[in-house]
């Protein structure tokens, strides 16, 4: 596994350095977004996110960015590789296709985190603002991204079989936004539990939300378990689906088709 990680990491670094404009523009966008949060934070703390502080907004936004990457990256990557004619050679590597694309998606997340962390560090120094957050929030943040990987693996499975995914990607964004907005935490009883278990991301996001709130969180153990089970379900299903799509694509002889 390390050689796969090393190979993909080196490729990511080369790409970052070879095409600095992309890296720079991404950093500039991040800077604009976070600067808005830092200097307009008093608007946010007042209303819609009520009770979530600056750190909460920053982490929430970062997680959302990573979720979009995790859910969309593998599908568009497979489509691009098919279009460029490199997908067959990638699938001729001594790894499972799902391993390769998961590692690449991980690298994409790391690639996004680097400018985000740099910009954040810069802004904290610049504004003297204090970010108050509990390290515990990292756990639901990671669970959220891993769940999003489950969706990403499913998108990748579709991409491997159908190749043309641009429209799907657009719809994915809306679907994810919708799913995250479902107020599962507010729903009680069986309906809430079932919905929470089936819908991706909602439980993880509500746990994340709770750990980020200013008030000391009272998160029930059940909600943690639910978040973990939901994550395992979606990631497992995604992993299984991409493996199945891999076999099916080879059976149909459409690995390199575009």
């Amino acid at each position: 596994m390390t050689s796969l990680l090393v190979a993909e990491w080196r490729r990511t670094v080369i790409d970052l350095v070879r095409y600095p404009l992309e890296t720079v523009s991404m950093t500039v966008v991040m800077f604009a977004v976070f600067a808005g949060m830092f200097f307009g934070a008093h608007y946010l703390t007042a209303a819609p996110f009520g009770g979530v502080n600056l750190a909460g907004v920053v982490i929430g936004y970062t997680v959302w960015t990573l979720v979009m990457s995790a859910a969309g990256f593998m599908g568009s990557s497979i489509q691009n590789e098919a279009q460029n004619g490199t997908l067959e050679q990638v699938m001729l590597a001594p790894w499972l296709t799902v391993q390769i694309f998961l590692v690449r998606s991980l690298m994409d997340v790391v690639e996004m985190l680097i400018p985000i962390l740099a910009v954040l560090a810069g802004l904290v120094l610049l504004s003297g603002a204090q970010l108050h957050w509990r390290p515990l929030a990292l756990l639901p943040a990671m669970m959220t991204v891993v769940t999003a990987w489950g969706i990403g693996l499913m998108m990748a499975a579709l991409a491997l079989l159908f190749k043309r995914m641009s429209q799907m990607q657009m719809m994915l964004q809306f679907a994810l936004l919708f799913v995250i907005m479902v107020p599962v935490a507010a729903m009680q009883g069986v309906v809430g539990a079932v919905l929470g278990l089936l819908a991706p991301l909602t439980v993880q996001v509500s746990v994340l939300h709770a750990t980020l709130s200013v008030a000391v969180p009272g998160i029930s153990a059940n909600l943690w378990w639910e978040a973990a089970a939901d994550m395992a379900l979606w990631f497992g299903a995604g992993y299984w689906l991409l493996r199945a799509a891999d076999t099916l694509a080879r059976r149909r002889g459409i690995v390199g088709h575009y």
Binding site: S3, R10, I14, R18, G85, E88, Q89, L92
Partner: protein, 313 residues
Amino acid sequence: MLMANGLVKRFRTRTGLTTAVDNITMSVAAGEVLAFLGPNGAGKTTTIKMVAGLIRPDRGQVVVHNMDVTGRPALAAARLGAVLEGSRNLYWRLTCLENLIYWGTLRRLSPSEARSRAVELLRLVDLEQCQHNTVQTLSRGMQQKLALCQALMHQPKLVLLDEPTLGLDLVSAQVIKAMVRRLAGDGVAILLTTHQMDVAQQLADRLAIIRSGKLMLTGKTAEVLARYSRPVWRIAVSHPLPADRLAAVRDLGWSIEQPTPADLLVTPPADDPTVIYRLLDVLRPQPIRLVQRHQADLAEVFRQVMAEGEALL
């Protein structure tokens, strides 16, 4: 090194099921070059991809280096290298060296092993001066040479080449051919497809000709060529031969065809390599420009095998 047993592949198309590969069995030994020939759509690429694990056969086994890799693409991939037809095989945004190092580490070399192997391969194919150019700036021939290096990074014992010299100039094609010979000399088994019969004839130890997914002919190149060569001699003379000489030749029991007055195609009564001396004795002292026993080339064999296939249908 490679054993393919009874490979069958059918594809679902709009018009129903088409059988792309129909019960193909073949093997390639270490150090051997097998040329896989056939007209467009014969099933060559499909067979190569089945061996590589990119297409899963409906029936049959693929055994690489004593390991059954059928339906286990990651295992197959670790044991072979492939340059695929019409596929780019490389990342355009990376340089030659970066590409080779990437594909090498992806195949489990350490970055430093990959680097030294890459430098060595680039030198072998005359690309060392371009090692820091991105692939998008390379010519077709350079890309193809690089794609070959890419397939060789992990020193596979089996190499699959789908139309490796397609669209290459003489010099680039020569480099690829030299690499193929070198690999075979190092004990690598090579399966290649081509539509260029001269390339196949120069490189292949053995031939497999397929048509509509069916194996039509296999055999050692030299034996196949000999089998399709006819016991006919071509004699070219400077001036048309006098009629009495021709009659004397016929008296020896030879049959004569005369495509042009200065060109004779003569068939001896018995196929004996020394039979030509008797003919030459009869022709003495007529001036002769050329004496040649008919030698089939692969293009001729191929045409004939295709025609025989036609007749069978």
